[in-house]
Subunit: 435 residues, 2 copies
């Protein structure tokens, strides 16, 4: 054996890791420490945390010490952080409500860092379509490759479902039903729960978060945007009861302005497929059905995705498939797909796909980072891989970008518009974006 020779199956890149600067990584609390950090930790040859920014530098210093980030520097100002040439990729993992105010100056300051290649922003990108468009434009002008954490696209269940659909295993899709229960927004509110998630306009709510992630996943799996949609948005619970950790009511009611129910129906552009969605908030959770159910019916078979919570992008799911693969499935080159030698046209195939110990909260974000590193190091040795791309769209490869986020924001805006106007809306131009 030649131990000096690099293994052909090694995933360790033959180059320096991507140097990551975080806005919002705090060892003591928050989303980044629970997801981005463990995800990066499993890819330590590909990513290295080199910079932290927080309005309080003490927080960054404490985080560096607790996590033993020996290569990281705590920056005192957003300007010094964004200007530092030790950063290849900036990750924004703070409250959505602050995204616009942080990202816009950050992109401006970052013009002093010639090494900056990637900007990774948490969904929902911004609190409004206007802000989202401004961020998109600024990032495009700055010339960075963007990443949005629509990480459901990286869920192994979603990718397997997308694969089964795209390879003709359910034939043509002819109807879809989705029912989800987004845990918050119910009759009761844990007293320790942060107030901003119950106030409309902060970029975290049943429509933007629960529906947004799930409908992005649906579009991604089916490789289709919507043509017509109708939506009804409800706030039937304008006041919540505060409860303590044990679930006891504290006798205090607090206002809630975010929606607690969304009815959404529409048709997919591909095949005029009817899609029915009902998203509800809060407990009591459903007794006779899972809190997330996505039923996809086709001419040759059915797919069902089930999860314990309405958050498809962070849930460990179960994928059920039953059907007979269509034998007239066309390939991109116009030929018929080759059939397995043992292929029996009438035979029904069943599959239950479940990874029992899969931690979807970390896992999907991990796979998103993995896809960034695959792109950066061209791990899959794709010939003539461009150095940037505008959007992922419905490709298996790559990762969702701010353009994918903008298209989703437009759909979400249409949901509110349909509700306000009492109209069914034509949204078939939503993916043809011109700014």
């Amino acid at each position: 054996m030649d131990y000096n020779k690099r293994s052909s199956v090694s995933t360790v890149p033959n180059a320096a890791p991507i140097r990551v600067g975080f806005v919002g990584l705090n060892a003591a609390k928050g989303w980044a420490i629970k997801t981005h950090y463990p995800a990066i930790l499993q890819l330590s040859s590909q990513f290295q945390i080199t910079a932290l920014y927080s309005p309080k530098i003490e927080t960054s210093i404490a985080t560096i010490q607790r996590l033993k980030l020996s290569n990281a520097t705590a920056f005192p100002t957003l300007e010094s952080f964004a200007s530092s040439s030790t950063i290849d990729m900036i990750v924004i993992a703070i409250q959505v409500a602050s995204h616009y105010d942080v990202v816009m100056p950050l992109l401006e300051f970052s013009k002093n860092n010639p090494n900056l290649k990637y900007l990774f922003v948490e969904w929902a990108l911004a609190c409004s379509l206007d802000q989202a468009e401004s961020i998109y434009k600024a990032a495009a002008e700055r010339g960075v490759q963007t990443i949005i954490s629509l990480q459901g696209r990286k869920s192994p269940y979603i990718l397997r479902a997308k694969e089964l659909i795209s390879q003709g295993y359910i034939g043509d899709i002819n109807s879809i039903e989705i029912a989800g229960n987004g845990g918050w927004y119910g009759y009761e509110r844990p007293v320790k729960s942060p107030k901003y998630i119950y106030e409309i306009g902060n970029g975290v709510d049943l429509v933007t978060t629960t529906f947004g992630h799930t409908i992005d996943i649906l579009q991604y799996m089916t490789s289709s945007y919507f043509s017509r949609i109708n939506a009804m948005v409800f706030n039937n619970i304008p006041e919540q009861e505060l409860i303590d950790e044990r679930g006891n009511r504290l006798g205090q009611r607090v206002p809630k302005t975010v929606p607690d129910h969304l009815l959404f129906q529409g048709t997919l552009l591909n095949g005029n497929v009817p899609v029915s969605c009902s998203f509800k908030g809060g407990k009591p959770t459903k007794k006779f059905t899972k809190n997330l159910v996505i039923d996809i019916h086709g001419t040759k078979g059915d797919l069902k995705l089930e999860g314990d919570a309405g958050f498809a992008e962070i849930s460990n799911l179960v994928l059920y498939y039953s059907g007979t693969r269509a034998n007239d499935f066309p390939l991109a080159n116009g030929q018929q797909a080759p059939l397995d030698p043992g292929y029996d046209a009438g035979k029904e195939i069943m599959e239950v796909y479940h990874l029992r110990n899969y931690n979807a909260i970390v896992g999907n974000i991990h796979r998103l980072y993995q896809s960034i590193s695959d792109f950066h190091f061209n791990t899959k040795k794709i010939p003539e891989l461009p150095s940037q791309f505008v959007m992922q769209g419905f490709d298996f490869e790559g990762f969702p970008t701010l353009m994918d986020a903008l298209i989703l924001h437009r759909l979400i805006e249409s949901v509110y518009k349909s509700n306000m106007m009492g109209s069914t809306l034509n949204v078939s131009n939503i993916s043809h974006y011109s700014l």
Copy 2:
């Protein structure tokens, strides 16, 4: 024992039976022989078939002979039939497309029969709202008590669910999801299947029949009409493949003009409850869910109704209940409901209700006839029972009338209108009918 004394629990009325004249009872085929006839046969002390009308008198004579209807006369003309004073109740069980042309002259001729008290018409009453209104007006003018076969209201599962809801066992309803699969209207058509059920305008289709019955049941269970609705109607399968009895394709395609999918969403007047419905047509049937699912979620519990086919009104269902009864459930007199001595406020109650051998096709129609006889003979000894009523509405007692049918027809018309206009419609005045 005094054998001359009438038993207090006897269901045999102490009066002459209701004399029934049928339009559409044919011993050889059709709906009436499969449902109305066996239903009446079980109530032979309450109902007696005394007259049959068919355009061909031979059909009526053959039916009388085969069914040994010793008290029945075959009438040669609609006029002689409708004028005969041997009839207390006329039952119309022919194709909906012919209802208007038969019922309108029949009501006119019936003015010669002073004994006529009841007119029982099969759903969908008529092919259009206009025709339905004309029939309603003519019947009201003629002064008969009407009955419409929205027999789902008599299903034991629906009544049990209505009881659980009205007695506070699921608290306040806060969301509802319905998914149904109406067996016809798919990619294939059995060659022996009658053509008219695939042609729009004949009063038998996914919207009028499948959705109509199911949404009537939903409104009845929840005791609420709708306030806002949006609908999208699809005919994604404009041509069907003919198949033989064995399911083999005959290589022939035939046009289909009835819808194969309906998306419907809206809010109940009571409590602004979001309701999501998806009705699809045809095979393949669903693999991972029942072909009929009605999920009703409340603040104190959940109800689920499941059936093997999308036709709730003729299906043997399973009712699942789980919840804790609200202990603040108000009675009609404004008092709190008395609690059982053993009542435990926090205790979860479960119920699975299923009658294994229940024949819902006959059973629900049977129960509808039973309710007519209960009314006619005042079996339940209700004081000051009026001799007529305009509509059942959401009462447990009684039976649905042509007014209930009209209100449902208005909802169905709104479905098509919403689809055509691309609008969410306010339908909150639908039950306040003035003609």
